[in-house]
Symmetry: C2
Subunit: 329 residues, 2 copies
């Protein structure tokens, strides 16, 4: 897939100061796109103005809420590509407060889609959802047509957002793509707490030479994808006409246990240690067990494939945070 | 199932001035329950104070919005059973305005569940959803574990509401039941427009001696359930401990074509006529094709089964509207 299609095109990234959004923004600026990022810098989330420091003179940063329909209406106008990454992303916040998931992830997505429908229906919209929409799974690797049994409000709200995106695609003929992201790690993720972004949280623990807690027996399998690979996939699906209307797993086809992950992190960092810890009640209730995706659909449709090994990804990640620790700790 | 369990118990019915809610309220009063109905009488919807006329001295009517968290918090207190029927129920409103589905059906359900969790976690909660959550189906009759591919925002919002109800059941240990209702018809449905409640709309056309429009070739199969049977099922599942945590189809296992339905209505009414009509673009996009449910799960769990033939149900329905036409036309 030729990413030169983005050269000179107008792009909006919601959640564009966050982890994946900012890496995407940097890539798009480098590809010659005219990038606007929308972000509200919601407390405890990934938004960090420093994330776009390398390109800050070459993009527009617009601070506003995805639920602000008047602002969103203005910001979507004239955009050729809209990457929708804004969202509440704590897996457990919904246990104590159900409204952020509903208001930001569901209503916010509807606000964006409604604005696009009314103002710029030719835009391509790529929405990032989560592999959490599957919940516990019977068969591995997980294909996109597996049953969706999301466990928490975060996962439920992402599934609903996907369905809203598809609704606008089908009923209002918008060009939409849903991507179900696995565990993405790498530069520019928040490092202040472990409520989401488990790999990066473990990286922080290692860099601080602290104990990494591995829940349960540590043998649960997951897939971990480096953020540059993730950004590459987002760009390639956005540039693929054949992807429109589709829902795609976006992760790594090679499963890895938490023990293996943790040992690699400690080895690459040269610091840190690990210990077993019992699941908390909340984590146990939310824990869907082994997961790794079948990614043949996105590979066939967009020509994308993961390029970075876990070790190489961790090396780059750790180097970044060593250099910019003050901006993230 | 012994419905005497409701005798002397405190019950809240959201949407209790609507079609099914009011029939449920009347039954519960007759069973000796202390009934409060919550309804906002939302324009164009089924709420009608006349619906509870037969029992109006024996229940409490509280007009408020399901999204009004302070009011809802007060109303759930001390209730043994909460039947959640309030909802935006137009299938096509979401095509022009996505927010009522999201705000009323999704956020409203969360508001109710949050209030119950905080204030009266021992209550039994029965939530009525729609068979529309399945979307187009591959196999008939449809079992509860069939894939859910809701087409419109109404159906998406109902599926999300189900998942929110289940979330509170699982994570917060509330006693919850989801019922996926098919086409219910009978006394006390609104008769002013045909945006929902197709059988009742056809009944009105027949009583007005007008032409009933049958879309497509009229051979699409559906199931039609009489409201007294529906109320009986709601009461029996609410009274069944074994039902808690479950999701159940609630419909009629005997499929019927639209042509057959319309001919029966015209025959029973002794007036009206019918004609073929092409699908509108919106209806075609939303039309999921043949549907009738497998209802063995609810039968086995609650001991319920449908008792009323289509002809008998229509006879009672038509008699009611002949008598009370002024309150519904």
């Amino acid at each position: 897939m030729d990413l030169n299609v983005y050269n000179g095109r107008k792009v909006l990234i919601t959640g564009g100061l966050g982890f994946i959004g900012s890496n995407l923004a940097i890539s798009l600026v480098q590809l010659g796109a005219q990038v606007t990022v929308l972000d509200v810098l919601w407390p405890d989330h990934g938004g960090n103005p420093f994330n776009v420091e390398p390109v800050r003179k070459d993009l527009i940063v617009n601070i506003c809420d995805i639920r602000d329909k008047y602002a969103v209406r203005t910001l979507v106008k004239g955009k050729d590509y809209i990457f929708h990454l804004a969202g509440q992303c704590s897996h457990v916040l919904g246990h104590v407060d159900p409204y952020p998931d509903i208001d930001i992830n569901i209503r916010g997505t509807a606000t964006l889609m409604e604005s696009i429908k009314e103002n710029f229906p030719d835009a391509v919209i790529v929405h990032t959802s989560t592999r959490g929409v599957y919940g516990s799974v019977d068969r591995l690797p997980v294909k996109e047509d597996a049953p969706t049994n999301p466990k928490g409000l975060y996962e439920i709200s992402n599934l609903t957002a996907e369905k809203i995106v598809n609704f606008y695609g089908e009923i209002h003929q918008l060009k939409t793509v849903n991507l179900r992201l696995s565990n993405i790690y790498g530069e520019r993720a928040q490092m202040r707490h472990g409520k989401f972004g488990v790999v990066n949280w473990f990286v922080r623990k290692a860099l601080d030479d602290e104990a990494i807690q591995v829940f349960g027996d540590g043998k649960i399998l997951r897939d971990f994808l480096y953020v540059e690979d993730c950004v590459d996939a987002i760009l390639k699906t956005g540039a693929s006409d054949r992807a429109f209307g589709g829902t795609f797993n976006l992760g790594n086809e090679e499963p890895c246990s938490f023990i293996e992950l943790v040992k690699t992190i400690i080895d690459v960092a040269g610091s840190g240690r690990w210990e077993y810890a019992p699941f908390t009640k909340e984590r146990a209730a939310q824990e869907p067990g082994d997961f790794y995706p079948d990614i043949s659909r996105i590979k066939e449709t967009s020509g994308w494939q993961p390029e970075t090994t876990l070790r190489d990804g961790l090396l780059k990640t750790i180097e970044y945070y060593r250099q910019h620790r003050a901006m993230y700790w």
